[in-house]
Each structure stands twice: as C-alpha cells, then as structure tokens.
C-alpha cells in the first residue's frame, strides 16, 4: 500500500508575514482618523486591503499555502476590518447602528466557522464564495467612511447582504453533510 506523506508548511512563511504586516496599518489608520485626515485614512485602509490580496499571491509564488494560513487570513480580516469599522463609527465618520450590527454578525460568523472546524475535527476554513466578495466590500466600507463616499447608502445595505450570506453559509456549515475530503481525513 502506497503511503503518501502530507507536506508540512511552517506557519513562519512569507505569505503569513504579509498577512501579519496588515496589522501595521492600524496605528496610522487610527492616527489619521483621530486627526481628521480623510485622504491619509483612505490610503492606510487601501494598503491594508491591498495586502489582503497580496498574501494569497505570495502563498502561490512561494508554495506555502496551508490551512493555518487560511484561518490566520480570515482572523486578520476580522480584526483589521473590525478595528477600522469601530474607529470610524467612534469618530462619527459612519453610522453607529449598522456598524454594531456588522460587528455582531462578524462575531457570529466567526462562531459558525469554529463550529464547522469542530465538526470537521481539525483546523479548516469553510470556503464561502459569497463571503469572500463581502470581505472585499468590508474593506471598502471603511474606505467609504474615510472618504465620505455615500456613507449611509453603503452602510445600511451592507448588513442586509451580510445576513443573506450568513443564512446560506450557516446551513452549509452546520446542517449540510461535510465535504467528502473532510470526512475521509
């Protein structure tokens, strides 16, 4: 019987370094918002969002994709964008009610993902094509506030779309059978 060895990827790899570097954009983002510098704040959230795209590219170039990297990326998304949303709301650049709703939904989504990983019995990230698109919208959401770009319109539509996606994903993660690859592992 042939024995296949699973390749082990160190968590200290270039892709995860790029992911971690996104946290470096948060202090200057706060500084810019606290001082009322709209354009600088927009620049820092833009850098944070761009690095989110770069880490996936780096993972492919250096062939260092891993389940840990995917989860770390998702957690970094949540922390960076959660921080940005709370700060823009705290400084009155965005309406508080939809921001609170989005943060609550974000925590709920994280809980669903932990429950999915518990079902699978290992560190695994549920790939949601819809949520990937919404994460891009989240990055933009902070930018809409920093740039004063149709803030009310974008902030009130966001939770509506997020609820629709979460209802779909919750069924997929908690109710539907696990993918064959996970069941076999």
């Amino acid at each position: 019987m042939a024995v296949t060895q699973q390749r082990v990827v160190s968590p200290y790899n270039p892709a995860n370094a790029v992911t971690a570097s996104r946290f470096l954009t948060l202090p200057p983002l706060y500084w810019a918002i606290a001082h009322g510098y709209h354009q600088w704040a927009t620049l820092f959230i833009l850098i944070c969002g761009t690095l989110d795209k770069v880490d996936g590219l780096v993972a492919r170039i250096f062939d260092c994709r891993s389940a840990f990297g995917e989860v770390f990326d998702a957690i970094t998304d949540a922390l960076c964008y959660g921080f940005g949303l709370v700060v823009v709301a705290a400084f009155g650049w965005a309406p508080v009610a939809p921001v609170v709703l989005v943060v609550v939904l974000g925590f709920t989504n994280s809980g669903l993902r932990f429950a999915y990983a518990a079902r699978a019995g290992k560190t695994v990230n549920y790939k949601s094509y819809a949520m990937e698109r919404l994460v891009a919208y989240t990055g933009y959401l902070i930018g809409f506030a920093t740039a004063d770009f149709e803030v009310g319109y974008f902030y009130w539509l966001f939770p509506v779309v997020m609820i629709v996606i979460m209802v779909h994903d919750a069924k997929r993660m908690l109710v539907d059978p696990l993918p064959v690859a996970l069941r076999a592992a």
Binding site: H35, Y37, Q39, W40, T42, L43, L46, K127, S128, Y129, A130, M131, E132, R133, L134, A136, Y137, Y140, G143, F144, A147, F149, E150, Y153, F154, L157, V161, V164, I165, H168, R172, D176, P179
Partner: protein, 73 residues
C-alpha cells in the same frame, strides 16, 4: 493635510469604487455564465452559483453608489 487635490481624490474614488464594481460585475457575470451547465446537485456548484450571484449584487451596489455620489441617480 491632503495628499492630492479634492478633485483628484474624487475621481480616484470613482475609479476604485465604480471601476472595480463595474469590472467585478463583468467578472462574476462571466463566472455565472460559465457555470450555467453545471450540476446543481453538487454543493460546490451551488456555492459558486450563490457566491457569483451575490458578487453581482454587491457590484451593482457599488455601481449605483458611485452614480449616487455623482448625483446621477
């Protein structure tokens, strides 16, 4: 303390919101078109259909938001 003039900033925002939304609309519409013959009993195909459809909705929100910003709608 600005980086660029207000006019440049306005058109930069238009490009990164309206431009990206418009591009994304085309991208997910073509993804959806390619999946039209897929087996809908396959959960992965259903996930993709749902994701691409929501991608189109989000892109439309971006396009309409940009038009609102410029007072078109």
């Amino acid at each position: 303390m600005n980086i660029v003039s207000d006019t440049v900033f306005t058109w930069f925002l238009t490009a990164i919101v309206g431009g990206v939304s418009g591009g994304w609309l085309v991208y997910d519409a073509s993804n959806l078109w390619r999946l039209r013959g897929g087996d809908r009993r396959d959960p992965l195909v259903r996930d993709k259909l749902f994701g691409y459809t929501l991608g189109i909705v989000i892109a439309l929100i971006g396009v309409v938001g940009t038009l609102r910003f410029h007072g078109v709608v």
